[in-house]
Symmetry: C2
Subunit: 212 residues, 2 copies
């Protein structure tokens, strides 16, 4: 299978979330690309293309076997595999991520939360004890941590990225609004809140224009 | 100008953020599509196409006038316009959003934060006094609020969406992991943290595979 692009991966995740929600309320054997497309506001052709890319084939008007679709997406996206992670930064955002609780569904297991503020270290947060960042490296090695979730201020983000990379993490989920420099073998996913704003500000500008 | 798609809007926001960062450290008159493309890991053709879509034309090897690019993106995305917003939900996520402080750059002005928890109401958070959700409607009308930022638990998200819509907001930035039903004239932007995970879990699965 060819390497899938980010946009395709994100749509697969969307389909998966949708089917999970759908089957949570009542059992569902089959679904058509048109039904998925309508619910998620994408083109039915796009759905069929994305499914085709991961080897799923629908049958005429019957559509796709829901269970097969879910299983295939789980396998392709690696949702079944356990992925060990730490959160760095025990501020509001770090706390919000820790409290989110929905990460299990994706195989993400948070093993610890770290901060460099002496007033925070040792305190409890969502059942975790906040640990000092100076113990980050041995912790990552000991527990074979693959993913570091960065929820720190911009100023310390690169230093901490360097540290977790040298300790052996394979991916960084970066919530600090800055670009990180890492070796090519390490994946960085930047979570830029401002990108989401683009659609909103554009829409509101058009609303303003139409009023004039 | 044709209506721009979400992916284009998000790339424009990325270019804008990049140029702002770039010029913050030292003045810069011109930049080529190749330079932008390399820094942001997109195709140079894509950059030229996106710029062309908003009327920007580069000159040979000189490239684009940075100031013109920034001004045009600001205008197209409506970043100069003031957009009045409220945050609903004074939990960790609401607090993190309030503390973010980077919203000014995009013309976003947060006027208040609301919660329904009597223990929170009246308390201070990042300089704001937490207000009760029952005063949300008159507040939205009085201050002509256009955008509601939803940072509540899933269970109350739809009820609160209904309320802010009936009070007149034009857009909802939804951080609750649920799909909202709103009239067609209202824009909803869902901020799904799990979409960002797709790329990470896919990458880590391939790492696992290659080890076997």
């Amino acid at each position: 299978m060819a390497r899938l692009k980010r946009v395709v991966l994100e749509r697969l995740m969307q389909y998966y979330r949708f089917l999970n929600r759908k089957t949570a309320s009542r059992p569902l054997k089959t679904i058509t690309s048109a039904q998925i497309a309508e619910a998620l506001d994408v083109d039915p052709t796009q759905v069929r293309k994305d499914f085709g890319a991961i080897g799923l084939v629908g049958i005429g008007r019957v559509g796709y076997q829901v269970e097969e679709v879910c299983c295939t997406i789980r396998r392709v996206l690696g949702l079944d595999l356990e992925k060990r992670a730490v959160i760095i930064g025990a501020g509001r955002l770090g706390g919000a991520l820790l409290a989110y609780g929905g990460f299990d569904k994706y195989g993400l297991r948070i093993l610890g939360i770290f901060d460099n503020d002496p007033r925070k270290i040792g305190r409890k947060l969502e059942g975790y004890t906040i640990e000092p960042v100076r113990t980050l490296k041995p912790f990552i090695r000991k527990y074979d941590i693959e993913l570091a979730i960065l929820a720190t201020p911009v100023e310390v983000a690169q230093t901490l990225a360097d540290r977790v990379v040298s300790a052996g993490v394979k991916a960084i989920w970066n919530f600090a609004p800055t670009r990180l420099t890492v070796p090519e073998t390490v994946l960085v996913r930047n979570e830029h809140i401002s990108l989401g704003l683009a659609k909103i500000t554009y829409f509101l500008r058009q609303e303003h224009d139409s009023r004039e």
